[in-house]
Symmetry: D3
Subunit: 135 residues, 6 copies
């Protein structure tokens, strides 16, 4: 049987929900106050789950210090204190909904986590709203 390990990280960013292929009216209708042209922001909480076999020598699935640094280098240093729509390549053309942010975080991390390991991310946008990818 496999074991899962989880690491929690945080980043604070501004965003607006906006799909440039839609009209302003459609964006306003779909996204309401989340479409505010001047942006709003969140304290995002990211939880990264890695599933694999226990290494009998270390007693680790993966070294959580390594996972902590991986998340810092590739995700939180990239997004923390940024405007997701303006300051990042990832959301120039992708609407930064919690769902899409989780998917992007997954895709970034997937390249750096060995293929023998399963990966999943959970992203909290608020204490009441959160998402998971893949489900």
């Amino acid at each position: 049987m496999k074991t899962a390990v989880y690491r929690r990280a945080r980043f604070n960013a501004a965003h607006r929900l906006h799909n440039p292929v839609l009209s302003d009216e459609e964006n306003a209708k779909l996204f309401g106050k989340c479409n505010n042209a001047h942006y709003h922001g969140h304290n995002y909480v990211l939880i990264v789950k890695v599933v694999g076999e226990l290494d009998p020598v270390t007693g680790f699935v993966v070294d959580l210090k390594w996972l902590k640094e991986l998340i810092k280098e590739h995700v939180t240093d990239r997004f923390d204190h940024k405007n997701l729509n303006l300051d990042t390549e990832e959301f120039k053309e992708v609407n930064p909904t919690a769902e899409n942010i989780a998917k992007v975080c997954y895709q970034i991390l997937r390249k750096h986590v060995g293929q023998e390991l399963e990966l999943q991310v959970r992203l909290f946008e608020t204490e009441n709203n959160y998402v998971e990818y893949p489900a």
Copy 2:
């Protein structure tokens, strides 16, 4: 791969654990102080999980504002500040254990969430006790 979205809601209610087909002695033995004839109560926390495909236009699985309103209209407005045993149809003949409350919340919401979407509810009765349906 699919994405999961979660919405947290809360309601405060009174209940007692009691199965009317059992004798008072059996109820007292099975349910202990939770069988108190005058009721006790909880701050229930309900987390609703919906799993589906990401809509490429909105970047949503479902609009979380819609899910928030759905939970409010069909669950929390129905149960908040109520006595579950006395004030609700659902628990007139169903023992309001956390397990049964979760199942009832699921059954209520299932009718309003499209069949292409998976649904699961988690219900916290206390910070130490919680349940999930379906598992």
Copy 3:
């Protein structure tokens, strides 16, 4: 300079807000859904603060095991899984608002905590509403 120690405890109870000297209409108007005749309930969280001098031998203000037992014996065993309006002497004629519950908890504990020690209680009714006595 003095030191404060805090102990957190919890109890789950039913109540309704109702002042028997008022008419039903006045109670309904003042207390809204909290006046529901069949009661509702909460997971109350009680935090007891004791302030005093550090004992140089033990390094304690008071033994927190003693404080834990004191709260259990005099407060949480008394109120847990009870209907505050029906099952307790304290709230037979006192409206069990969070403010009054905190004050009653303070008055109960005050008798058992040495007069050289300051005492204060904080009571959470929900994650968004809490009170403190004395302020």
Copy 4:
């Protein structure tokens, strides 16, 4: 002895730390990544404390439903999903540090809370940073 009541509320906003009387270099040096020209954001948590005498008829210091609505009308509806620097009058010329946001929330609410009541606000910018005004 008086009683304190507390109400917690939340709002999500974008901001940047920037004092327009300083040069860009000075702003960058003083505020670091919080000075990002494109803004970042937070899930602010606001806790409002009101201290007064218990009303013997209601068992309330103030009606927490009233306090909830007051905070919503005057604070969270004003700041939620806004860019504090661009979308609000209060922070056009005031640097939106947590300290200043707390002070502004206090000043707004102070006008609507009776002078016989003491008022204090606590504002969480992150789970690790928070402020209180007045201390």
Copy 5:
């Protein structure tokens, strides 16, 4: 469809990460400050998940009071206020990583939970690091 019930418990223990088959240098390199010869410690949070069919008479999967006592008798009384490396049989030759502690808790509880029930444990070592067995 089955239902899951969860029970949360806590224990405070000292440990060090150390594999006696490795040299001191290798242990220091692998485990860093977690290898401190004098130990450090944690407030471990254990969440036990049991999945099964709802009993139509009780409305329970299993009685959570029974599960609470089971965890106390077999896990938290065994590990609380202990040095995992020195005071327990389980970790005399097993490196007490969070992964291994979770696995040991699972193996202990598995013997006492009926085979018709699925079992899983989650163990928090810190608010940012946690593991789950089986995944």
Copy 6:
């Protein structure tokens, strides 16, 4: 009116409650399982409060990045992943109760925080037990 700022930090350490001037029997009686000769441990949470005047240029009481680094350099780097009784000068002859740890943290930080600023520390030993110095 002054403003308070708070910074939260964490460290994980082993300790035992033991006063070397007392006999083993007295220590065992006073401190119970906390006296375990092989130590146990905690995830300590430290909250540092600084009270002062708002700087009109920065909108800060003190720069929270500075306070974060100060706590890291002088407190958490010193105590994290340590055995407080064996690895630290501060608790060689001082019983590491939560009260004494809070007082030591205060005394360490007091030297580095300007005398025009008030200082207070709160230390959580568990989610249910915490202390504050000075009260």
